[in-house]
Amino acid sequence: MGTQVKDVVIKSDAPSALLLDKHADYIAAYGSKKDDYEYTLSEYLRMSGIYWGLTVMDLMGQLTRMNQQEISDFIKSCQHDCGGVSASIGHDPHVLYTLSAVQILSLYDNVNVLDVDKVVEYVRGLQQEDGSFAGDKWGEIDTRFSFCAVATLALLGRLDAINVDKAVEFVLSCMNFDGGFGCRPGSESHAGQIYCCTGFLSIAGQLHQVNADLLGWWLCERQLPSGGLNGRPEKLPDVCYSWWVLASLKIIGRIHWIDKSKLRSFILACQDEETGGFADRPGDMVDPFHTLFGVAGLSLLGEGQIKDVNPVLCMPEDVLERLGLHPDLLS
C-alpha cells in the first residue's frame, strides 16, 4: 500500500558507451538550418542556446568548429542602450541573456565585444532595496537572477558594483526548513534554485552559511532507483538535474553521497545513438540544453575524455584559470 516511487526504467538496449563524436556533430550542425521549426520557436532564448552549444563543444575540445566571428557579431547587436543583452536581435534585454553573453565571450577571451561598463551598470540597476535582483525592467524577482547578476560581475571582475551583503541577506532569506532554496522567500526548495543559491554563496564567499549536511542529504535523496536524479521529491528524473544537483553537491563538498556509477549509467542511457545529443530521459527527443548538462554532469563524475568543468559557473576550468577565478567550494 502507499505511493509508488515515480521513476523511469532503463531498457537493456539503452546506450552504455559515451558517444562524444556524435554529440559534437549534433551541436555543430544545430542551427545550421535557420528555418527549422524548433529552432525558430526557441529564438526567445537564443543567447542561452548559443552558450549551451559552445560550452559543451569546449568541454569536448571542439570549440573551433563553431563560428566565433558570427557569434561575436550577433552578441554585439544584442546589447541595448541600457547595457543589458537580449536573447536575440530585436528582443528585450534580460539578466539571463546578459550572463549567457558574458559567458560566451569569456570562452573566447573577448568580453570587450560588449561595452563592459554598461553591462555592469545594467546589472547594478537590477538590484532592489531588499538585496534581491529583478530579471529585467518588469520586476520579476527570483534567486536565479541573483546568481546571474553575481556570476556576470565575477566574470567581469566587477563584483564591487553591487551591495553584496544585502544580496546575501536576500538569498539567505530564501533558505527553507530542508536546507534548500526557492525562487523567493517562502518558495519551495528546487534543485535548480539550489544550484543558483549555492553558486551565488560561493561567489559571495558565504558558503559557511549553508547547512551542508542537511542540504546534502536532501540532494542525495534526489537519486532514484534508475540512478537518475530528480529536481525535488516525487518527480521524475531528468538529465539536467545531473547538473543542478551534482554541481550543488560538489560546491558543498558532498558529491560522494551520490552513487556515481548508477548516475553515469543513467546519463549515458539518455544519449541518442542515431542523432547524437542527450534527452531529458532515455528515449526522448534530444536538445542542446540537455546535451550540455549531460556532458557537464559526466565531467563532474570524473569522465576522462571530457575537460574539467567548474561547478559554480558551468564553464571549462581552464577558462576560469585564465581569468584567475577560483570560487570557493566546501571540503
Binding site: 500500500m1 502507499g2 505511493t3 516511487v5 524548433e38 520557436l41 526557441s42 526567445y44 532564448l45 536573447a87 528582443h91 528585450d92 530579471g135 529585467d136 518588469w138 520586476g139 520579476e140 527570483d142 551583503d165 546575501v168 541577506e169 539567505l172 530564501c174 533558505m175 527553507n176 526548513f177 530542508d178 526557492g182 525562487c183 523567493r184 522567500p185 517562502g186 518558495s187 519551495e188 526548495s189 528546487h190 564567499g205 558565504q206 559557511h208 552559511q209 549536511d213 542537511l214 546534502g216 542529504w217 536532501w218 542525495c220 535523496e221 537519486q223 532507483p225 540512478g227 525535488r232 521529491p233 516525487e234 560522494h256 553521497w257 551520490i258 552513487d259 548508477k262 540544453f289 571540503s331
Partner: protein, 526 residues
C-alpha cells in the same frame, strides 16, 4: 516545455501596450467626457480584467510558465479594484489539479500577502491538502513557513555578546524548528506521525519530521580560549565560523585592549571557528589573561560540551515523553516494514535527540541496516554515523582527561567537529576509513602526537602550521607522492614520522629526499 510557453518577450510587448492603453484611456476620458461620471478607472479595470481572463486560458494550456504567472501578478497589481478572493479561488483550483505547482504556490503567497488572508486560514488549507493527498511536499513546506508566524516561540532576551556583524546576516528562521513554541511543536509531531503511519513511503512527512526534530543554531560566542607563553600565542574557538580578521575580535589584557592580528587556522578559510593570534606585546607583561594563567606556561578556558547542549536541543519533560512514545511507535512500524529506510533513519534521529550515548549500540546496528537497504546512499550513512560517533566521543570527553582523544576503530569515513578539539594534545585516528586530513584539522592547535595508521589517507592538507606537533604516525595509508608531505615543513617541532606501508616509500631515493625535505625529523621510519 520551454517552447510551448508564451515567452517573456511576448509578455513584455503586451505590457508595453497595456501601459500605453492605460495612459491613452486616461487622457481620452478626460478629453472626451469632462462632465461625465464614468471614471477612467472603470476602463482600466475592464481592460485588465479582460487580460486576466485571457491569462487564465494561457495558464490552462501551460500552468508552469514563469512568464504567465508573473504577468498575472503584474496585472493584478495594476488593477484599480483587484479581486483577491477570485485570485485565491484560481489558486485553489490550480492546486487541486497539481498541488506541486510551485508557480501557483508562489502566486498564492503573493495574493495572501496583498489581501491579508489570516495565517491560520492558510494553515487549515494545508491541513485539507495534506489530509487528502499523498504528493504534498509543497503543503508541508508551506506549513514550515506558517507555524513560526502563528505560534512563535517567545523571543530570547537579547544577549549582550550576541551581535550581528554586518558581514554575517542572520540565518533564515525557516531552518529552525525551535522558532515554534513547544506546545504547537508537540501537536505537529502527532500530525506528521499520522501521515507517515498512513503511508510509510510518503517521503514528505519524513523530511518534515526531521525538521521538527531539529534544533536551534548555536548563538555566536566564544567556546574556548587557549594561551601559551611558550609559543607566544592565543587561540580562540567560536561556536560557529566567523571572520575574526574583520569583525573586531578584541584581546584585552589587564583592562588594556591590545593591537593583535588574527589569522584563521588555514588559508582556505576566510570564515573559521578557530583563530590564532600573534600578539606583538612582550610576554613579561602578560600577567593575567585568564584567572588560571598566573605563573603557568599555558592555560585555557572551555565551556562544557554537555552544558552547552552542543549536539541536541534542550528537552523538557513533556517533549521527552512525547519523543519516547514516538520512538516506540516508530519501532512498531519498523517491525511491520523492516526495510523502510525513512523509518530506520528517523529512529536513529529520535535516539540522538533522547540519549545519544545510551543508544549508541542500537544506532550502529541501524546504520548497518541502512547501508544494506539503501545502498545508493551508503556513503551518506557512513558519514552521518561517523559524525554521531565523534559526537559521542566528545560527550564522553567530559568525564575523562580532556587532552587525549581516541577515535580508533570506529569505521570513520570523515572527520568533523574539529573545532571542539582545540585543546587535544594526543589524537588516535587509527583503523578507520579516512581518505584525508582535511584543512579543518589545523584547528587542533595544541596537537603533539598524531596516530592515524591503517586508513586510506592520501592528503595531509590539515597538517598546516601545527606549532606543537612532534610525532606523526601514518603507517599503512595511501601517501603516494613526495609533494603530499610538503606541508609537514610548516610544523617546526616535528621529529618523528612513520610512513611505513605507504606507496611513497617505494619511490627511488625516498630516504634522502625526505631527509632533505624534513631535516629536523630525526626519527624517520619508512
Amino acid at each position: 516545455l520551454k517552447i510551448r510557453s508564451p515567452s517573456l518577450f511576448l509578455f513584455s510587448c503586451w505590457r508595453e501596450i497595456l501601459l500605453h492603453l492605460e495612459t491613452v484611456r486616461a487622457s481620452n476620458s478626460y478629453m472626451s467626457y469632462p462632465f461625465l461620471c464614468i471614471s477612467e478607472e472603470d476602463d482600466v479595470q475592464k481592460m485588465y480584467e479582460a487580460e486576466l481572463l485571457f491569462l487564465e486560458s494561457c495558464l490552462k494550456v501551460n500552468p508552469k510558465s514563469y512568464g504567465s504567472w508573473h504577468h498575472r501578478g503584474w496585472v493584478s497589481a495594476r488593477l484599480p479594484r483587484p479581486d483577491w478572493a477570485r485570485e485565491l479561488g484560481l489558486c485553489d483550483r490550480c492546486l487541486s489539479l497539481d498541488d506541486r505547482n510551485f508557480h501557483c504556490w508562489d502566486y498564492r503567497r503573493m495574493v495572501v500577502k496583498m489581501s491579508g488572508v489570516p495565517v491560520d486560514q492558510e494553515l487549515q488549507f494545508t491541513d485539507r491538502l495534506i489530509g487528502s493527498n499523498f504528493s504534498n511536499y509543497s503543503s508541508w513546506h508551506y506549513r514550515s513557513t506558517l507555524l513560526p508566524l502563528l505560534h512563535p516561540e517567545s523571543p530570547d532576551p537579547p544577549s549582550p555578546c550576541h551581535q550581528h556583524s554586518h558581514s554575517s546576516p542572520p540565518p533564515s528562521p525557516q531552518t529552525h524548528s525551535h522558532r515554534v513554541c513547544e506546545e504547537q511543536l508537540l501537536k505537529e509531531y502527532e500530525l506528521v506521525q499520522n501521515a507517515f503511519f498512513t503511508d510509510p513511503n510518503d517521503q514528505s512527512a519524513w523530511f518534515y519530521y526531521r525538521w521538527l526534530l531539529g534544533r536551534a543554531e548555536r548563538e555566536e560566542m566564544i567556546s574556548c580560549v587557549f594561551v601559551s607563553r611558550e609559543e607566544e600565542r592565543v587561540a580562540v574557538a567560536f561556536s560557529r565560523p566567523v571572520n575574526a580578521s574583520s569583525s573586531g575580535l578584541m584581546l584585552v589584557l589587564d583592562g588594556q585592549p591590545q593591537r593583535v592580528e588574527w589569522r584563521s587556522v588555514h588559508p582556505h578559510f576566510r570564515h573559521s571557528p578557530v583563530w590564532v593570534s600573534f600578539p606583538s606585546w612582550s610576554w613579561p607583561h602578560l600577567i593575567v589573561l585568564l584567572p588560571s594563567f598566573k605563573g603557568r606556561s599555558e592555560s585555557w578556558c572551555r565551556d562544557s560540551a554537555t552544558d552547552q547542549e552542543l549536539f541536541r536541543s534542550e528537552l523538557s519533560v513533556e517533549k521527552t515523553s512525547v519523543l519516547q512514545s514516538e520512538l516506540q511507535s516508530c519501532n512498531q512500524l519498523l517491525e511491520l516494514e523492516p526495510q523502510n529506510k525513512w523509518c530506520l533513519l528517523t529512529i536513529v534521529l529520535l535516539m540522538r535527540a533522547l540519549d545519544p550515548l545510551g543508544y549508541e549500540r542500537e544506532t550502529l546496528s541501524h546504520f548497518q541496516t541502512l547501508k544494506e537497504v539503501d545502498s545508493m546512499r551508503s556513503a551518506y550513512y557512513g558519514d552521518l554515523c561517523s559524525k554521531f560517533m565523534i559526537e559521542n566521543t566528545i560527550l564522553k570527553m567530559e568525564y575523562a582527561e580532556v587532552r587525549v582523544f581516541s577515535l580508533s576503530d570506529k569505521n570513520l569515513t570523515m572527520l568533523c567537529h574539529l573545532d571542539q578539539l582545540l585543546l587535544v594534545t594526543h589524537i588516535n585516528l587509527s583503523c578507520n576509513q579516512l581518505l584525508r586530513l582535511p584543512p579543518q584539522f589545523a584547528m587542533l592547535q595544541c596537537l603533539e602526537v598524531l596516530e592515524a595508521d591503517d586508513n586510506a589517507i592520501e592528503n595531509l592538507d590539515g597538517l598546516y602550521y601545527l606549532p606543537k606537533l612532534q610525532e606523526v604516525s601514518l603507517k599503512n595509508n595511501q601517501i603516494s607522492k613526495l609533494s603530499d608531505l610538503q606541508l609537514l615543513t610548516s610544523c617546526p617541532k616535528l621529529t618523528c614520522l612513520d610512513l611505513r606501508g605507504n606507496p611513497v616509500t617505494q619511490i627511488a631515493n625516498i630516504q634522502s629526499e625526505l631527509t632533505e625535505l624534513l631535516p629536523s625529523v630525526t626519527d624517520l621510519l619508512i
